[in-house]
Symmetry: C2
Subunit: 204 residues, 2 copies
């Protein structure tokens, strides 16, 4: 078996074990057994538990960002781009629940260096969503009421809401990726839709 293929199998096993147990509780024995290889081979290929966990985070982060980007066409309206991005996000996190657990929950269990990698991925997604919202505001009116700072806050809120819904959907097998994406659109877009035409809730 070629090295790349063998390494992929080890990472698959590692993501499953880290996703379920967290960094410290995960054992290299269990990872090796699940990958169907010897423990020394895992160390030979991936050096240490620390590097293995890092490699898992990096692979899962890249896969998630790539899935979102691939899911969004650029020649459609902003609300459809958001819908496509959300559908891709929830489909991906549903297909790879352990990968999502590694990124969203377990990275923190390993401490700061791992958190930094996830923070970088999250910033990339927030920047992508910020761009989408800013574009939508521009489409809706030339002299946008949505200032840059508020767009940044809305993007944070949207990403936080999507993260929470992914955890909810992954914890309940009857919630499909499509249902989660629809709930997000009902929540976020219908709200954003109002903002786009300048209708705001106010503290009357």
């Amino acid at each position: 078996m070629p090295r790349a293929e063998r390494e992929r199998q080890m990472l698959d096993a590692a993501v499953r074990v880290f996703g379920k147990r967290g960094y410290r509780a995960a054992s290299m024995d269990e990872i090796a057994e699940l990958a169907g290889v010897s423990k020394p081979l895992v160390y030979l290929y991936l050096n240490s538990k620390e590097e293995l966990f890092s490699a898992c985070i990096r692979r899962e982060a890249q896969a998630l960002v790539a899935a979102i980007r691939a899911g969004v066409r650029t020649d459609v309206t902003a609300d459809r781009q958001l819908w496509e991005g959300l559908t891709a996000f929830f489909a991906h996190t549903a297909e790879r629940p352990d990968g999502w657990a590694v990124l969203h929950s377990q990275a923190r269990s390993g401490g700061d260096p791992f958190v930094a990698e996830v923070v970088a991925m999250r910033e990339e997604i927030v920047a992508f969503v910020t761009h989408l919202i800013a574009e939508a505001a521009r489409e809706a009116h030339d002299n946008p009421e949505l200032v840059e700072r508020e767009v940044a806050g809305l993007a944070q809120a949207l990403v936080g809401a999507a993260e929470a819904l992914a955890g909810w959907a992954n914890g309940d097998a009857s919630v499909s990726a499509k249902e989660a994406a629809t709930t997000m659109m009902n929540f976020a877009w219908s709200g954003l839709g109002n903002l786009m035409v300048g209708e705001r809730w106010s503290d009357r």
Copy 2:
């Protein structure tokens, strides 16, 4: 100094250190020094680093839930209740950024038993928000289109969005609690407002 007062000082110091450094990197020496007491006294009062971290999580969780409940009047409209709850939430997390860091980020750094305490607090807040949204739906129409399951999803999304915005606001001193709460209302309520009158985004 009475024991309760001394213990409060130790917990204040512990929340600051755990909030900044996480569970493992935090040192009992630093906590004792910041509290202005000897390390043996910290152990005498709070037994172990594990119990001290647990006590921090419990205290901060109770304080947060109490602040939200205290902020919401029950004799006002649903959107105002949400506004009041959000204002209380963001004011509290801004006043106690280390407490919020312990709950939102650092609990995970200690592993599963600590996570379980935060999960319980989060469920209490989600239940509170679920109740608010269900009430609002009932106010808006007698035969609600919002089924229980969707309300649960919306509550998850709302709590996730608020958590993300608290992190954003705490990372930028120029964002006030009121601005964060306003952004949340623009995002969430204007969206929920549409849903309440049955206007939904659909995958056309």
